[in-house]
């Protein structure tokens, strides 16, 4: 009988725990992309400061409210500015960051093409 009870509890709890795990993964992913603003150089996920702990609670709340990952980033961007994101979008301050690698790749490709392939 005891075994049956235990078995039932495991069966009831199992799907719940997998849902929790999924939400936890999402939370971890988001907090890893948020910069801890008072302990610079660390993500919110890595930090244990008062600020970071509160931020984790807010991320949890927003996830429970049903906000998507992007909506949560947008929310923090309006509160703290672009700086809080580790993965910034394309704008006038970051366009060099985004375009330079492509530019170098294209120019490098052109040089290689001209000097090796055309020569043949």
């Amino acid at each position: 009988m005891k075994f049956l009870k235990f078995f039932l509890i495991v069966i009831i709890l199992f799907p719940l725990s997998s849902i929790n795990a999924e939400e936890n993964d999402k939370k971890n992913k988001i907090t890893k992309n948020l910069r801890c603003l008072i302990c610079q150089g660390q993500s919110v996920y890595d930090s244990d400061s008062e600020f970071a702990n509160s931020l984790k609670i807010v991320v949890d709340k927003k996830l429970q409210e049903g906000l998507s990952e992007d909506q949560i980033y947008e929310y923090f961007k309006t509160k703290y500015g672009e700086w809080i994101l580790y993965d910034p979008g394309l704008n006038k301050n970051t366009y060099i960051l985004w375009l330079l690698p492509i530019l170098i790749f294209l120019i490098g490709g052109a040089i290689i093409y001209k000097s090796f392939i055309v020569k043949k």
């Binding site: 603003l37 610079q40 008062e50 509160s54 807010v58 509160k79 700086w83």
Partner: protein
């Protein structure tokens, strides 16, 4: 001709990269948050400090009045330093000082006010620090100058006499 283009373009590319990195060296690496943007104050529900009753933010902040929201805590040492300045500001009676008690033990907070005085017109509680995040705050102490439900300026860190003079100038 072809042989000349190659070294020339390589030099130009390296020149551009050098210029960008050199410019980057001059920028400050320490992040300074934007403190002047006009933002609407957030809407939130909280509890009153002394009575423990639920309050809405819209009741605390009225239109057409100047407020100074001060985030404080009994465990925060710089809060002790700025407290006499807040007491003085309250005596001058030009603005309403609202306190946000941040992640604190209520008994310790009450003792803090008994010891140093209470400059706040109203105090509400932020037990888990989430309301401070709503405000876009970085920690304790931090102060927001509010007029017409808009944040005019925020002061990160403890207030000093210079900043108090600035506040007095702004609310004139």
């Amino acid at each position: 001709m072809k042989n000349k283009i190659l070294p020339f373009s390589v030099i130009i590319i390296f020149g551009i990269i050098f210029f960008i990195f050199y410019k980057g060296l001059e920028d400050s690496k320490i992040y300074t948050p934007d403190v002047n943007t006009k933002k609407e104050i957030p809407v939130f529900n909280t509890k009153e400090f002394f009575s423990g009753e639920n309050v809405k933010s819209s009741i605390i902040f009225e239109v057409d009045k100047v407020y100074l929201l001060n985030i404080w805590s009994s465990w925060c040492v710089p809060c002790r330093q700025e407290h006499p300045l807040l007491m003085n500001l309250n005596l001058e009676n030009k603005l309403n000082i609202i306190g946000m008690n941040y992640k604190d033990n209520l008994k310790n907070a009450e003792n803090f006010l008994k010891e140093l005085g209470n400059p706040y017109k109203e105090i509400f509680i932020d037990l888990d620090g989430t309301i401070a995040i709503e405000w876009g705050a970085y920690g304790v102490p931090e102060s927001f100058l509010i007029y017409n439900n808009e944040i005019i300026k925020k002061y990160i860190g403890p207030l000093n006499q210079e900043l108090v003079d600035e506040i007095n100038l702004l609310i004139k």
